[in-house]
Subunit: 338 residues, 2 copies
């Protein structure tokens, strides 16, 4: 038995905003799984902003993607044939083997998935890496106290929407920014106290005014997914002893020339600010605590999730590109087994 699997490879390294031609669809023929191996059919795969940085050929916290090779990333799949002690046909599994329809594995990096009754794709979003990112970044770095104001940029994304909801659970006033009225309306519907459609405030001065109007009491914790003018505006609106959690800066990932940074960094001193970046791997050792918190919140109905879904491996590049044009609300996913 052999299996034909389609996969997405990096055709060329993008300059600036990635384009469809940076990706290619290819077919590989997989053999039957050997002794100690399993054949997995992916059912869902994740596209995430951090993948953009892996398309650049440089040393970073994750190695770069290689041209002509399939991309990778988180995926949920089903074991369809097994010669491995620990996996049985029908098992759901989590892996980093996204961007392909199927793969053979010797079990390394493969994790059996107990969904606790949640839809399996939740483990690519709220209950997966984006959820852990939100939970760890907000609670362990931002350390919000009850009654404080938390401002979340990119609030309607997979990470941002989780940060908003966790901050509400912790008794904070929450302000979010997003790029459409529809996203803002959704954020209101999940309990965000105040929202800014940043596209209504196209220059830096207007954005600063909007931040101040939305958080007249000042910002205690700013959760940064966007960068650029958002960071300038946040620095203006921060309170003394404020914390800026730097999770992402999606507005600069596609810059071909580095853009100048905020001219108001001296606030770091006069407001005694802490600005701290992180990578989700820092919280891997706390996964059990995260899952405990999250499962409780899900049971109590305190977490709402939303997904934007593309269908078919051939549309994975489209899904990825939508991350940069604001085409996703909540978690961006690709469904692979329709």
């Amino acid at each position: 038995m052999t299996t034909i699997s389609r996969e997405i490879r990096l055709a060329s390294r993008p300059t600036g905003m990635p384009k469809p031609e940076n990706f290619e669809l290819a077919e590989v023929t997989l053999p039957a799984p050997g002794q100690g191996e399993v054949l997995v059919q992916n059912t869902w795969m994740s596209v995430d902003p951090y993948m953009r940085s892996r398309m650049i050929d440089r040393k970073s916290y994750v190695p770069p993607f290689q041209i002509g090779q399939p991309l990778d990333g988180h995926a949920v799949g089903k074991v369809i044939a097994s010669n491995h002690d620990k996996f049985a046909e029908g098992d759901l599994v989590l892996s980093m083997m996204g961007w392909r329809e199927a793969f053979i594995s010797d079990g390394k990096g493969l994790q059996k998935l107990d969904t606790f009754g949640l839809p399996p794709q939740t483990f690519l979003g709220a209950a997966g890496m984006p959820g852990l990112t939100a939970w760890g970044g907000l609670l362990h770095i931002g350390q919000p106290k009850e009654g404080e104001t938390v401002f979340v940029s990119g609030a309607a994304g997979a990470v941002g929407s989780m940060v908003c909801q966790i901050a509400k659970i912790k008794g904070c006033r929450v302000v979010g920014s997003a790029g459409s009225d529809e996203k803002c309306a959704w954020l209101k519907s999940i309990g965000v106290d105040e929202v800014i459609n940043y596209k209504d405030h196209p220059d830096q001065r207007a954005l600063i005014k909007a931040f101040r109007a939305a958080a007249p009491e000042g910002i205690d914790v700013y959760f940064e997914n966007v960068g650029g003018d958002h960071l300038v505006a946040a620095l203006e609106a921060m309170n003394t002893n404020g914390r800026i959690v730097v999770c992402g800066m999606i507005s600069v990932y596609n810059d071909t020339e580095p853009k100048p940074g905020p001219s108001n960094l001296a606030y770091i001193i006069s407001k005694s600010l802490r600005i701290e970046g992180f990578v989700v791997t820092a919280f891997m050792s706390k996964t059990a605590d995260f899952i405990k918190d999250l499962s409780g919140w899900f049971l109590e109905g305190k977490i709402q999730t939303q997904e934007t879904v593309e269908h078919g491996i051939e549309n994975a590049p489209t899904a990825f590109l939508k991350l940069f044009s604001g085409g996703n609300q909540g978690k961006m996913l690709v469904k692979l087994d329709d």
Copy 2:
């Protein structure tokens, strides 16, 4: 009995680099001290970079200086007449009543000074606010570990030179930047492992190269007194999980137009950096610990201090202006009772 005291007042708010005409020398006549009062003659006064920000009329962590009013700041003085229970003639005292030759006090904000055999002016530098700034910022925020590399900008200043020496005591490799060969030679003489005369590297690219050459193993703790291109170069050279302690940004204090900030802030994420600003008041409650550490180090001969001294109240503005032109090595002081 009355006393004639000369004092320096703010004549006008400086725009850009302060000029002598922003200051005026005035005379006041002090009455004899009343019941519960003392008359203090200042012997030493301090000028510090943070005073520049108090010349701007804005809300900040310390209220702005007022035009036509005497400036203030740390000073050491001697009680020359006392009607106060707690102070006797001849007592040495610390106060915030600098920029004047003498003053009347009801004792509030006046602190009797036990010099432990040190020269009294040490309590305006290594054993005073600049020393506490260095100690608190480096140890409590930077948290250097033995064997790590600590980079100190403005290393030959009152704060910077203390940071260098405390980092050496803690077993770190220490790199310092300063603005003259003479300062660099002094830094070497007090044990700094590597020095950069930043004036030899006038553009950003050259400064980045110089940072990398001086710390080829990468920087773990960057103690920031300077800002501007120094911060850009530090971000390039930081190691993963590095800490940037933001104490000052003297290079931007006199900007009339805000300068763009670093274009490489995305390193905050990819290197998981922590950037933290502070004001020395944050460490006031730890003063006893600081004094304990410091007195031990002085006894063991581990702390060298250097002073640059101007003489006479009329030269206090000159002393202050020298802070911004690199005219001081170690602590900048004004001797008042010659």
